[in-house]
Symmetry: C2
Subunit: 145 residues, 2 copies
DNA sequence: GTATGTGCAAAGAGTTTGCAGGGTA
DNA sequence: TACCCTGCAAACTCTTTGCACATAC
């Protein structure tokens, strides 16, 4: 894991560089995210910020997180607004998803089993499932750029 | 991709084996999912079913898809109810997620770059991002089983 | 001082649920 | 016929937005 202090300074520097103001609420959210090892959700960030600033609103957390995401200072772990389904291959397999046209392909990839074993071995988890999605631009949409 | 006809029969057989009734709406949904190559969302399935049964409701689609998911006949592509954030490593990296306690770890895994290149090469996509999540049970939760 | 950020409340999207009526087996 | 399934509407969750007030710079 990266050094939380360094991450904090990096994030604050980015905010300042882009001329965003440093409010107490923002600082609290940034601190939590910089030190996060457990990938908190909005609600958990909210709870922690409220301990220091009880009047903070959920909307502020959402806005701050969205801002940091915009600045590429946080990673959002989420698939999409809504679910997509695969009835043809109802077992885990890799997807390649086009950002523009939302097309989803199923590439044949070797090496996932090995990666799964490696993950299991390193963490002690019993892995029962996985999700591997590559996000990018498909050939058709590339020509329209 | 699997043979759509075979998938259809497999799905219908599973429904029958579990004593679920075969209604026209259900059949329509199953047909669409069995032949799906593009991972449709609920709304798209809904639109297609309505072409044949205009009175069909969205709720029925949701219920049918949930049933098929229960029977392991469709795969849902979705992260979770709500987003989780990582401000410590704000770039794509693998996650290992515990189904029980929702803990998320960041294992160090080799071989993702290679897999990314392979996906790009096979599909022609320009890959800008990826998501690799292993879902399972963590060591602590395993002992509580 | 001024533009930006906050907090509140309402709106919006996606999904789930309860219930009465209708259709499958 | 008996139970399951459907369709409708309401409820629910997560997230976004509009607006008036507050505040960082």
């Amino acid at each position: 894991m990266a050094d939380p202090q360094a991450r904090l300074e990096q994030m604050l520097a980015r905010l300042k560089a882009c001329n965003f103001r440093l409010t107490p609420q923002r600082l609290a959210v940034v601190k939590i995210l910089a030190a996060s090892v457990d990938h908190p959700g909005v609600e958990r960030i909210y709870d922690q910020v409220k301990e220091v600033f009880p009047t903070t609103s959920l909307a502020t957390i959402y806005k701050t997180v969205a801002l940091l995401k915009e600045l590429n200072e946080v990673l959002e772990i989420r698939f999409s607004e809504s679910s997509r389904f695969d009835g043809n291959k109802p077992y885990p397999h890799p997807h390649v998803i086009c950002l523009k046209c939302k097309k989803i392909l199923d590439p044949e990839l070797a090496g996932i089993e090995k990666l799964t074993q490696e993950a299991s071995h390193r963490t002690g988890f019993r892995i029962v499932n996985h999700r591997l999605d590559f996000i990018g631009i498909c050939p058709e949409c590339q020509t329209q750029e």
